[in-house]
């Protein structure tokens, strides 16, 4: 049970979002721009992967499964492949540029000041643009917020990971702006 009376039984971030619609509006708008807007040279799958990886580092079960399932959906891979990326991106079968961006996300998760210029340089040498680096930093930073919101209020999350996989196609189609929190 959540630490406060949310007035609903919704899982994860949907509980506090239904409790506080005014703040959920900009929170969802930010997610839409960062994760789903097509005006971006990073694919939706890449951006969801950055969100899932940051959520994994923050040990947020709900967020890493929601966004991991979306990454799987977009990248057309299975759960074991995604788990392998999260636990050791450098050894995973993903593009070198993505490894460099995930290393940037990992530093953001630890703290903004842990970022080393060499990490940015590495990403840039592998073809990352300034905007891609910007978006990687902000996606990782935003998940340091979403994850804390979810776990800091002690929300509940379905433990069956298939629950998240099953919902991913619908979540991908609806996006973050126009969906029913109660469905």
């Amino acid at each position: 049970m959540a630490y406060i009376d949310l007035g609903n039984e919704l899982p994860g971030i949907r509980g506090p979002m239904a409790f506080s619609p005014r703040t959920s509006k900009p929170l969802n708008e930010l997610a839409e721009v960062l994760l789903r807007d097509d005006d971006n040279t990073l694919s939706r799958g890449d951006r969801e992967l950055i969100g899932a990886y940051t959520s994994y580092l923050n040990d947020c079960f709900f967020c890493q499964n929601v966004h991991g399932s979306l990454a799987q959906h977009y990248l057309q891979c299975d759960m074991s492949a995604l788990d392998a990326i999260k636990s050791d991106p450098e050894a995973a079968a993903i593009p070198e540029k993505m490894k460099a961006l995930l290393s940037i996300a990992a530093s953001v998760q630890k703290g903004g000041k842990t970022m080393k210029p060499e990490q940015i340089e590495r990403a840039r040498n592998l073809g990352a643009t300034d905007r891609e680096i910007h978006d990687t930093v902000l996606i990782a930073a935003a998940f340091c917020m979403y994850n804390r919101y979810v776990d800091g209020l002690g929300t509940t999350a379905p433990q069956d990971r298939q629950f998240y996989i099953n919902r991913a196609p619908q979540r991908a189609a609806e996006g973050y702006l126009d969906f029913d929190l109660y469905k």
Binding site: Y3, I4, D5, L6, P16, F19, S20, R22, T23, K25, P26, L27, E29, L30, V33, L34, D37, D39, N58, D59, C60, I104, S107, V108, G111, G112, K113, M115, P117, I120, D130, R131, I133, H134, D135, V137, L138, A140, A141, A142, C144, M145, Y146, N147, R148, Y149, V150, D151, G152, L153, G154
Partner: protein, 187 residues
């Protein structure tokens, strides 16, 4: 120097938002609701939480910016702001606000660091569900803002006298796109 070429020399988060105006709207709106709402916690309480979390995250630009806004609301009591920033348990503030700052400090460490007894303690001192919700989300949001600013090495003014005029601008007009689209305030 920032890690990426922002094509502007605006200070702190302003330079980042001007580089990517598509995110400025939702981030400004979030800050406005969380920091300027008068339902429950006062704007000063809210800026205190933001200042303390930014200080814990060692984000120079953010803790001085929000400390200056709290100071503006208080009519210049910088000693109080400084004490809340780094020694709130001994500051002359309510027990309720101390309990909420403790929750904010836990959120800064990690979401799971918040324990039921932290919430119970705040409730015992009169915090409502809304107060607790807002405290957690303000602290969480500053774990984003701080990482955004320092993760990209945003330009950080070291002259503290420049923070007051920007604080006055935000106190008078709120957060929002005007902080990047209008002329930067001068001392």
């Amino acid at each position: 120097m920032p890690h990426i070429d922002l094509n502007n020399d605006l200070p702190g988060i302003r330079g980042l938002l001007a580089f990517r105006p598509e995110v400025a709207g939702p981030m400004g709106e979030l800050a406005n609701i969380l920091l300027r709402d008068t339902d429950g916690l006062s704007p000063v309480d809210r800026e205190f939480i933001a200042t303390h979390v930014s200080w814990l995250n060692d984000c120079f630009y953010c803790h001085h910016s929000h400390g200056a806004i709290a100071c503006h609301y208080l009519g210049g009591e910088m000693d109080l702001v400084d004490q809340v920033r780094n020694d709130y348990l001994h500051a002359p503030i309510s027990e309720k606000l101390k309990a909420l700052l403790t929750i904010a400090g836990k959120v800064q460490q990690a979401g799971k660091a918040v324990l039921p007894e932290d919430v119970e303690n705040a409730r015992r001192h009169g915090a409502t569900d809304r107060d607790i919700h807002d405290t957690v989300l303000i602290a969480a949001a500053f774990c984003m803002f701080n990482r955004y600013v320092d993760g990209l090495a945003a330009t950080t003014p070291t002259d503290l006298s420049t923070y007051g005029p920007r604080a006055r601008q935000v106190a008078e007009k709120g957060y929002g796109n005007h902080i990047i689209s209008e002329k930067q305030p001068a001392a």
